[in-house]
Structure formats: structure tokens, C-alpha cells
Symmetry: C2
């Protein structure tokens, strides 16, 4: 049957928008949970304002370090890829930065993810596999639902599962600020992209 089969894609690539690097170069050091979440929320807000994606941002930090290891933005519509949520993107890029498939290594500092919204089912799983030891969430899932974003099959037991694996979960870190970006998104008539 050689030669008769349609070609399938064998590779792919993705990139954050061009505004991300200059934005990060202007950021002050982030010392507290609020500082770190503020960075995730600011990324989500700029993603909406610049028209580069949905209202979701995430950052990965080594515990105690002033600057992030990686950042991620919802890029589903821009990059035509339903898996490129903020958290998945930030985690993939953090593992690239450190050249490891797990951030949970004795040779590395503890890593933590700050996400501007409680993760969807996919991202919650991705957080588990990444080896981060803490997930801090901004806006609640109800706020995402309020503008039409489905979070998928995430249950209280899902978070308990993460905690049973030693992952600390924080809810409502700058929750109001994070949810305000959803209002902005709705106002700007952003495309809500559930499949």
C-alpha cells in the first residue's frame, strides 16, 4: 500500500505572542502569592486586550524565586489548538526550560503554578503529571461558566486526588481581579470556543 496513504502531520510547534517578552522584561520581582497571581492575571488581561486568546493566564515559579520559569496563555483560537490552555502551555514551557519531564526532582527547587482560573479537567491532569507541588487558583470555575466556558469533569474528588499526591491547592487568590478579566472578555465579545 506504499504511497497511497494521505500524509499525517509528524511535528508541530507553537509560540507565545510577540508582546509577552517585552511585557515580562518590565515586571518587578514577585515575592508573594498575590504578586505571582497578579502576573498570571495581567497576562490573561493582556491576552484579551491584544486579541491573542481567551481570558486565561498561568505562571510557573520556583518556590521563593523572584521571576517565573515560564508563562502560558490561552492560545486555542490563535493557534487553532484545543490543548493550548494557559496551564498546559506554561507547564510544557517550564519543562522545556529545565529539560525535564517532571519538576518534582530532588535536584530542583519546588515548583508552583499560579493560574488565573481554576483549571479545567485537562489542565488539572496536566498539573498532576508536571510535578509542581502547588497550584494557586484565581477566579472560580463558576466565574468561567458565567461567560460560557465549560471546565469539564472536575469534581471535589479531583482536587482531593491532587492533595493526596502532595500537591497543595489554593483557591481564590486575587479571585475578584481574575474574574474581572472575564467581564472584559465578554464585553469585547471574545469568541467562546468550547468544542
Amino acid at each position: 500500500m506504499k504511497g497511497s496513504i494521505p500524509t499525517v502531520p509528524l511535528k508541530m510547534s507553537f509560540a507565545l505572542p510577540d508582546w509577552v517578552a517585552p511585557f515580562l522584561a518590565d515586571q518587578p520581582p514577585a515575592a508573594t502569592d498575590d504578586d505571582r497571581m497578579r502576573l498570571a492575571v495581567e497576562l490573561s488581561r493582556l491576552n484579551v486586550e491584544r486579541g491573542t486568546g481567551g481570558p486565561f493566564g498561568a505562571v510557573v515559579f520556583a518556590k521563593g524565586a523572584p521571576y517565573p520559569v515560564s508563562v502560558g496563555l490561552n492560545s486555542v483560537v490563535r493557534l487553532k489548538n484545543s490543548a493550548l490552555h494557559a496551564e498546559v502551555t506554561a507547564l510544557m514551557l517550564a519543562e522545556k526550560a529545565l529539560q525535564t519531564f517532571t519538576l518534582n526532582l530532588p535536584t530542583l527547587p519546588v515548583h508552583e503554578i499560579y493560574t488565573s482560573c481554576e483549571p479545567c479537567a485537562m489542565c488539572l491532569g496536566a498539573i498532576l503529571w508536571s510535578g509542581v507541588r502547588k497550584v494557586a487558583c484565581g477566579a472560580g470555575r463558576d466565574a468561567a461558566h458565567g461567560i460560557g466556558f465549560d471546565e469539564g469533569p472536575v469534581f471535589p474528588e479531583s482536587y482531593k486526588y491532587l492533595e493526596s499526591k502532595g500537591i497543595e491547592v489554593q483557591f481564590g487568590v486575587l479571585g475578584a481581579e481574575a474574574a474581572a478579566v472575564f467581564d472584559l472578555y465578554k464585553k469585547l465579545s471574545g469568541l467562546v470556543y468550547n468544542g
Copy 2:
């Protein structure tokens, strides 16, 4: 603070192993569910035998079409990336092939994913967002657990959630053949990579 911030990665890329294209070029058309699952299982087996990843393969087909739109392999260890499970990889590549963030469009045929093992929590979420209308599973999660792979917070309600969104779920398609690849992986002392 300009200039003082460590560089974060702004892009990434990934590719399937070199053996995939010639392997696919030799495949017969796949007419039945078993034919399609056989392709996913064969990919999982070759991934183990060639030492390019964990014992998991997935394929995306348009309903009724003889050849896949995309294929995916577990590439976590090879590519140092905890999100590059077989299903996530196949779905990202299917969306690249069709240049869309959802496979569930009136202008497209219905798409279906065949995965050699019941999906983990992350992949189950990714399946939901991709717009496929069916997921067929080979080996059961217990078989994966049996060789040390965690599936994460997947519950009966998780599958019910998919079904409530119109996604058909099939279990145990070539289940024994798929699980046999786990035995092979264990025998070859593959690294089990839970974070």
C-alpha cells in the same frame, strides 16, 4: 527592571519519531473499529520496541475514512514533556492537519479517537475539548496501574460527562492485545515516569 529577568522559553516544538512515517506508509486501510484500534496498539508496541516512549498509542480517524488524520505516541521521556501523552499528541496533530481548534464542525466529517489505553485525567479532558465524537479504548486503566502508571482523577462520572456532551465511549476494543504491550514494556524494564 529591564534586562534583569531570566529568559523564559517563548516557543516549543515536538516531532514524532522517525520510524512513524515509513510504518504508516505500509499500513492497509482500516475499515473496522478493530482495524483502527490495531493501528493504535501497533504504534504503542513499536514505541516500546524502538525505545521511543511509553506503551501508549492513539489514532484519529474521520468516520468511515480508511486512513488516519493523525497519530500520537507517548513521548514523555523522549521529549522531556509530561503533557505529550499519545492522545494529546494525536489530537494536537489532528487539529494541525485540519487547521481547526475543534473537530466538531458542520463542515467536517465526524472524527473519532482510538487509544490503546483508557485515557488519563488530562487526556480525557483533551478528548472533550477536541471535538471528537467517539473515544474507543483498548486496555483498561487497571492494566496500566498494574505496571505502575497512574491515570489520575478519572471517575465513572468523568465518562458520563463526555457522554452527556454527545461523545460515544467504547471500552475494551482489542483490550487483551493492548494490555499485552504493557507486559512487554515491563519486561523491557521501561522507565515508568509518573511525576
